[in-house]
Structures are given as structure tokens and as C-alpha cells.
């Protein structure tokens, strides 16, 4: 039996807004989730139930009020909520990818370099990195004329595809997908679905949020209802 | 120290003298001598001293005059030059001053002098064992133009952190393609202390290296004394690819034909006529007396040198 790529234990998240009379906003509590390699767990539940909060907590971007998030990194389970900053950054660099709806545009860096950068960071040779970047940019049908430009001036859909290229070129063992197809047309959505499926076939573990039901049905191996763990207000 | 003086022009050592011998009182001379000894013991290190008010303004040689006053005795033979010449106003005045207050013989002959006070030059004739060269220094701190904080420059000297001095040489090469600084060119004394020679031309820097004479430097306004004892290594700073070099001239001296001395350019009229002559007037006169003659030998300028020293 294979072991999980992500194990969320007894996770609780409560926001305390100190500057608004210490208002406490509970989101979820005692949440437990395991994701196996090759699985794509799609988070379900109505808006505001805490799907994005859970994703961000798994990524180490939000600090949980209790519990742990264990990610398989270099063959060992590491609790990202307890890890030192440099360990979290290393996990994010080599194991845990996050595809959001928005590209954090870095001015002045060309599209091609943006896609190549994560490969170089992980020690892939410059030649191979270029090769893989070209392949994925072609797959995503991003016009070659755009490759040498920084994506700041691209349309929303183009930026989104750069973002996806940047994340999928890495072949992260664990991927968090927060509405990666939100601003794409049908043809491009299909391409992204294919990318996701290919990554799953290679054994990536994924947690995703998809509002587009077609995409969700195409990629989900199971649904996970965050509202089952709704914290008592 | 003794009874109130009555006759200002009495012989220098007489009881009736208005001023103490060599102008400064004995305690001040002792203080300066102690500073000189310390300066000789730590070659190149700037020793603070209690600079006195002198009867000339700062910038006219107050540091050098105090050094001379502290070391001079009746048996000394005193020479004073300014810009290499014995006959300039400042040199003549200071020479008269010591002839009056210290009762010493004066000379223009470099070889005959025991104390040579100077600003801007070291004589061309090699200095000898037993001679003392006294320099009048306007700014003793070579790093001052680059680092205004005294606390910081002192730390730099204490820890021999002299990288900063190279910045000025670097600037020179960037701007002029060579190390252009002509005067006060920084030197390292015995590979330890960075020192600014009084504003002598870098032409004279090599004369300080392993010099048999004692070199004393005095800055009156800045209240610092420093020294190079005899036979001390004095190295001019440079870069590996821009080695130190001295000025050179295409001409020889117009009066004495010397090719190995530091030349001054003298503008003769408004017709673009000029001549290059030895800056060291004694050196030039000596050579002419030996029969050397340059292309403009006999020019009226030569006669100015013939006024005898007092």
C-alpha cells in the first residue's frame, strides 16, 4: 500500500480580528484529509465554507489554530505548520506547487525565463529546461511572439496560461489548484484538463478547487466536502 | 626664564636678550623634542603636539619653524628654501629669523647645511648622514580628503587599513589615464604607516627612501609632528599595472643644462616665450659655477640667484 502525499490531521482554523473587537471567525475544525499519489481531491462546499482557507493552510500561507499538515518531502512526512521558514520554502520549491487564479507578475522577466526559472532552481540543466519550457508553452498554445516579453501586459487568459506552464513544467509531486481554469476559454480548459490528467497519471497528488463542473468532473478522483468540518460559530 | 630682557638685538645667547634662544621657551622645546623622539621611534606616525603661536600666520611654516627652533643650536648651519629656492621671500625671512634668534650661520649650500628647512622640495644634492631636513606641512593627514572623520582616519592608521588611499590613485587613473597627483604623493613608511610628504613633488619621493638624513615633518595648524628616521624604507603607493613614476621633462635646465633635476616653467613674456629652469636654485648655481651651460645660459633670470645669502 502506498502512503499518502498529504495528510491533514485534526486541522482547525479560526481567524481572530484583533482590530475589530477581537472578533473570532471560526472556519473549520478537526478536519482530516489524506491525499494519495495519483489522486485529485476536489474541495466541495458552498462559497465561504473555507475551501481556499484550507488550500492556503496546506500551502503554509495560513497558520492553523490547531492540528497539522504533513507533506511527503524527500521521502519523509514533514509538518508544514511546524517547519522552519527555510524548510517550508524548500518544500514549496521542490514538492508543493500552488496554482492560483492570478499570476504574481514579476516585471521585466520574460515569459520564457519565468517558466524556466523553477527548473533551474531545481538543478535542471539549462538545455533541458529550455526544451521543457518550449514544449509546455507550445502545448498551452501561447504564441511564440510572446515568449520574450514579460507577461505583465498579457490578457488574463494568457497570464493564466503562463502561470499554469510555470507550475506544470516543474512536475511537482503535490499540486494545489485554486481555480486554474477560471479565465480560460473552452479549448484552453481542455488543454489544462489534459495536463492535469497527465500529471495524475505520473503520480502527482492534487487538491483542487474548481467551480467549472465540467472540469471538476473531468479531473476529480473524489470530492471532499469542507462543510462537513464546519466549526461551530 | 631669566631677568626681563632689555635689548632685543643683543647676541642670541646673552642674558639681555629679549627672546629666549631660538624664540621658543625651553619647556616648549622640550615638549617638541619629546614629540620628535616619539615620531622617530614610530616612523610615519603623526604625533600630536602643543603647537604654539608663532610670529607668522599659519600656512607660512609655523610647524617647520617650531621643529627647527626645538633642534637648532649655535653650531648649526641653517639653510631654508621655499619651492626649491633660497631667495624667495619666505625662505629669506625665515632664514633671517633664525640668524637673529638662534645666532646661527646660514648658507645656501646644501652640502654645508646641518639643518635644511623646506617647503615643496628636497634639494637635488643627496642628503647626508648628520643632516636634518625639516618640512613645513599644511595637511598631515593623507586620508583627509577621502575620509573627513578624524576618529575614522585614526582607526585606519591604527589598523593599517589603507585601501582607501588607493581610491585617490584610482580616481587619478580613471580621469587622466595615469597617476597624475604631482605633490604630496602618499608613501608608506617601513611598510607600516601611511604618510603624506609635505607638498613636495612626487619627483622627490624616491629621495626619501633609505635617506641617510633625518626627515622631520611639522604641521603647526594641525598640531602634528611626524618623522622618517635615517635609512628607512619609503615606498610610494601604486598599482601593479600602473607603477609609480616621477615627472620627467623633455628639456634640460635652460641655464645649467641639468637633465636630472626638477624643473620649473618660467613664463618670460606674453609672446609665448618660456624657459625651464632648475627649481633648486643652489643646485643650478653650483652647476653653472662648474661650467655647465644650458641653451639660455646668461639669461637675466640667472643673475637673480647671485644675491648672496645673509
Amino acid at each position: 500500500m502506498t502512503s499518502p502525499a498529504i495528510r491533514v490531521d485534526n486541522l482547525s482554523k479560526l481567524f481572530t480580528l484583533h482590530n475589530q473587537g477581537a472578533t473570532a471567525i471560526p472556519v473549520f475544525e478537526h478536519l482530516a484529509l489524506e491525499v494519495m499519489p495519483g489522486e485529485c481531491v476536489v474541495l466541495a462546499g458552498e462559497s465561504g465554507v473555507g475551501k481556499s482557507t484550507l488550500m492556503r493552510t496546506i500551502y503554509g500561507n495560513y497558520l492553523p489554530s490547531g492540528g497539522g499538515v504533513h507533506v511527503r518531502h524527500n521521502g519523509a512526512m514533514v509538518d508544514i505548520t511546524q517547519a522552519a521558514a527555510h524548510e517550508v520554502l524548500d518544500i514549496r520549491r521542490r514538492t508543493l506547487g500552488y496554482v492560483s487564479q492570478f499570476l504574481r507578475v514579476i516585471p521585466r522577466i520574460s515569459t520564457l525565463d519565468l517558466v524556466i526559472e523553477p527548473l533551474l532552481e531545481n538543478g535542471v540543466s539549462a538545455e533541458e529546461a529550455l526544451d521543457r519550457a518550449v514544449t509546455i508553452l507550445n502545448a498551452l498554445r501561447l504564441p511564440q511572439a510572446h515568449w520574450d516579453l514579460p507577461p505583465a501586459t498579457f490578457s488574463g487568459g494568457e497570464q493564466q496560461r503562463v502561470n499554469i506552464a510555470r507550475s506544470f513544467v516543474r512536475e511537482y509531486p503535490v499540486l494545489l489548484l485554486d481555480e486554474p481554469t477560471a479565465s480560460l476559454d473552452a479549448a484552453n480548459r481542455a488543454i489544462v484538463v489534459d495536463l492535469i490528467k497527465a500529471a495524475l497519471a505520473k503520480g502527482a497528488a492534487m487538491v483542487g478547487i474548481f467551480h467549472d463542473l465540467d472540469v471538476r468532473d473531468a479531473v476529480a478522483t473524489r470530492l471532499f466536502n469542507v462543510s462537513d468540518f464546519k466549526a461551530a460559530a | 626664564m631669566t631677568a626681563p630682557p632689555t635689548t632685543p638685538n643683543a647676541p642670541a645667547n646673552s642674558e639681555e636678550r629679549y627672546y629666549n634662544y631660538a624664540y621658543l621657551d625651553e619647556q616648549t622645546k622640550r615638549m617638541i623634542r619629546r614629540a620628535i623622539l616619539k615620531a622617530l621611534a614610530v616612523p610615519g606616525y603623526q604625533v600630536p603636539f602643543g603647537s604654539r603661536e608663532m610670529p607668522v600666520p599659519y600656512g607660512w611654516g609655523t610647524g617647520g619653524i617650531q621643529l627647527t627652533a626645538a633642534i637648532i643650536g649655535p653650531d648649526d648651519v641653517y639653510k631654508c628654501i621655499d619651492q626649491g629656492a633660497d631667495d624667495t621671500t619666505n625662505a629669506v625671512s625665515i632664514r633671517r629669523f633664525f640668524a637673529t634668534v638662534a645666532d646661527v650661520a646660514t648658507t645656501e649650500d646644501t652640502g654645508a647645511a646641518t639643518i635644511i628647512q623646506s617647503r615643496h622640495r628636497i634639494p637635488e644634492r643627496p642628503l647626508e648622514d648628520g643632516q636634518v631636513m625639516v618640512f613645513q606641512v599644511p595637511q598631515p593627514e593623507p586620508l583627509r580628503g577621502l575620509e573627513p572623520r578624524e576618529t575614522e582616519t585614526r582607526a585606519m592608521h591604527a589598523y593599517a587599513e589603507y585601501g582607501l588611499q588607493y581610491v585617490s590613485l584610482y580616481e587619478n587613473i580613471s580621469a587622466f589615464g595615469r597617476i597624475a597627483g604631482g605633490a604630496g604623493y602618499p608613501v608608506l613608511i617601513d611598510e607600516r604607516y601611511l604618510m603624506s610628504p609635505s607638498p613636495i613633488p612626487k619627483f622627490d619621493n624616491p629621495k626619501m627612501d633609505m635617506c641617510p638624513a633625518i626627515l622631520l615633518f611639522g604641521a603647526g595648524r594641525e598640531k602634528r609632528i611626524y618623522a622618517v628616521p635615517p635609512y628607512t624604507r619609503v615606498r610610494s603607493l601604486d598599482f601593479e599595472d600602473y607603477p609609480f613614476e616621477v615627472q620627467s621633462w623633455e628639456q634640460c635646465c635652460a641655464l645649467c643644462a641639468a637633465t636630472d633635476s626638477y624643473l620649473d616653467e618660467v613664463v618670460l613674456d606674453d609672446q609665448n616665450n618660456r624657459m625651464f629652469v632648475c627649481s633648486d636654485s643652489n643646485h643650478c648655481a653650483t652647476r653653472r659655477a662648474q661650467g655647465h651651460a644650458g641653451p639660455m645660459a646668461g639669461h637675466s633670470l640667472a643673475h637673480l640667484d647671485e644675491e648672496p645669502a645673509q
Partner: protein, 270 residues
């Protein structure tokens, strides 16, 4: 960003911290500067120190960078010559040499970090001369290379800093503080006095250089955008205390301490 890192700070063993600050307190008489600050930094890490004016961040930076002896506590730095050593236990010449060799310090005001009387090029070359380089040609080409990396017009290499704009002065200062390949660079509001467009370009350049060189840096700023762009990790200071510390994006996106929440929510959205 260049595809190949031009130079990489030589690696410090991962298990030895680059910097270890323990129980650092600085009192000004009975007024606290910073109180009981402890943290560690690793090679290649960028630490942001944020907080409002008077929160103690500059005091902390000055203590760590050897300019201001702390009242109590220790600062150990992994120096090339000495290994992990308490910087205030070193003799003054050793400490000064360590500062020249292993550190850079980018001041908010270029006037504090540059020699205004010497040319931009000589300002950049000075750290090499301080480390004993005596070959003009080699230093000149290193300087030219660095002025190119900070995107300055090479035709102006011999101009004095006062003839440069604020942003250009800051670029000279950055080149001057990186040319000797330091292990740790301190930056005190490096883009503080600049207008917004210049600030953005400069930050972007700094970010690239820090990543390319694998530099460790401590950046003091009150600007949350600077903190987000530059820092891996943040320390939030208030009244001399560190009130919150953590991964930069976590501190900014999910701040825990009331003061951090106030600080983050006070940022104007455009």
C-alpha cells in the same frame, strides 16, 4: 534574470547558521531600543524587519551590523575567517576586517553609504581596494561589470555621485556593497527616499541580484510591499519587541498579532 547565476556566495554548511542573535537588548539610558531579540538566519535567506518608526528596527540593525554594541545579548556571525563567532568578542581590527570582507550595508540615504567626493566608479571599486586588490585594470573591469549589472550608463562611470539622480546613486551604492561578494548584506530602507516608479525598478533589480548571488540579506523597511517582494521571512517589531515572526507571505496574509494585523490592514490598496 540571467539563466546562469553569475556568482554564488560560497556555500556555508547548512547546519551552521549564518547569523545567530540571542537575547539582544539595547537600552538608551532607561529607554528601550530593542528588547530580548533572538533569531537565527541561514545562508541565502532574506529576512525582513518591519514595524513603524521608533519600533526599534534600526536599533536592531545597527546592533547586528556591529555599529552599536548591545546592552546585553550576543550576535554570532559565521565569518569566512573566524567561523561562527560573537562579533563583539572579536578585536576591533578583526571585526572591521570581517565587516569589509563578509558584509555589505546599503543605507537609505546614498550620502551615508557613498563617498560623495569620488566618482561612482571609484566608489564601486573601493571595497576591492580595501580587500587588498592592487591591479587597476582588473578592478576597472569588475566595476564596469557591476555598473552594468545595476543598469547604470557606463559612459557616466567617472561622474561624481552628486551628479546622479537618487535612484542612480542607490544603484551605485548597491554595486558598491555587492562587488566583493559578501555573505550578508544589511539594507536600511533601501528604496526609502525614491519615487514610486524608481522604487519598483530598483526593488526588482535588488530581488534579482539577491536571488542570483544566493545572498543572505536583512532588510529593514516599513513598506509591506517591499517586505513581500524581497523577504523570505519577516520579523515584526513594536516598542522594541519582536511581536511576530514567520514566513513572509504567512505573516502578511494571515497575521496573528494585533499590531501586525493593524500594520497589514493599514496598507492602502490601489
Amino acid at each position: 534574470m540571467s539563466l546562469t547565476a553569475l556568482s554564488t556566495a560560497e556555500s556555508v554548511p547548512a547546519d551552521v547558521p549564518l547569523l545567530r542573535v540571542a537575547g539582544l537588548t539595547k537600552m538608551y539610558g532607561h529607554l528601550p531600543g530593542c528588547l530580548d531579540v533572538s533569531f537565527e538566519m541561514r545562508a541565502g535567506e532574506v529576512l525582513g524587519i518591519v514595524g513603524e518608526s521608533g519600533s526599534g528596527k534600526t536599533t536592531l540593525l545597527n546592533c547586528i551590523s556591529g555599529k552599536l554594541p548591545p546592552t546585553c545579548g550576543s550576535i554570532a556571525f559565521n565569518a569566512r575567517r573566524h567561523g561562527l563567532t560573537d562579533i563583539y568578542a572579536l578585536s576591533e581590527p578583526d571585526r572591521r576586517r570581517m565587516q569589509r570582507e563578509d558584509w555589505g550595508f546599503v543605507h537609505q540615504n546614498p550620502r551615508d553609504g557613498l563617498r560623495m567626493r569620488v566618482s561612482g566608479g571609484a566608489n564601486v571599486a573601493e571595497p576591492l581596494m580595501n580587500l587588498g586588490q592592487r591591479h587597476y585594470g582588473a578592478m576597472r573591469s569588475a566595476t564596469t561589470d557591476w555598473l552594468g549589472r545595476v543598469e547604470l550608463d557606463l559612459a557616466r562611470v567617472d561622474d561624481k555621485p552628486r551628479n546622479f539622480s537618487g535612484g542612480m546613486q542607490q544603484r551605485i551604492q548597491i554595486a558598491r556593497n555587492l562587488i566583493h561578494n559578501p555573505r550578508l548584506v544589511f539594507m536600511d530602507e533601501p528604496t526609502g527616499g525614491l519615487d514610486v516608479s524608481v522604487q519598483a525598478r530598483l526593488l526588482d533589480l535588488l530581488r534579482e541580484l539577491v536571488r542570483d548571488m544566493g545572498l543572505a540579506a536583512i532588510i529593514v523597511t516599513h513598506d509591506m510591499a517591499v517586505a513581500r517582494l524581497m523577504a523570505d521571512r519577516l520579523m515584526v517589531m513594536k516598542g522594541g519587541h519582536v511581536v511576530e515572526t514567520g514566513l513572509a507571505d504567512q505573516v502578511l496574509d494571515d497575521p496573528q498579532h494585533p499590531y501586525t494585523q493593524l500594520l497589514v490592514s493599514s496598507v492602502l490598496q490601489i
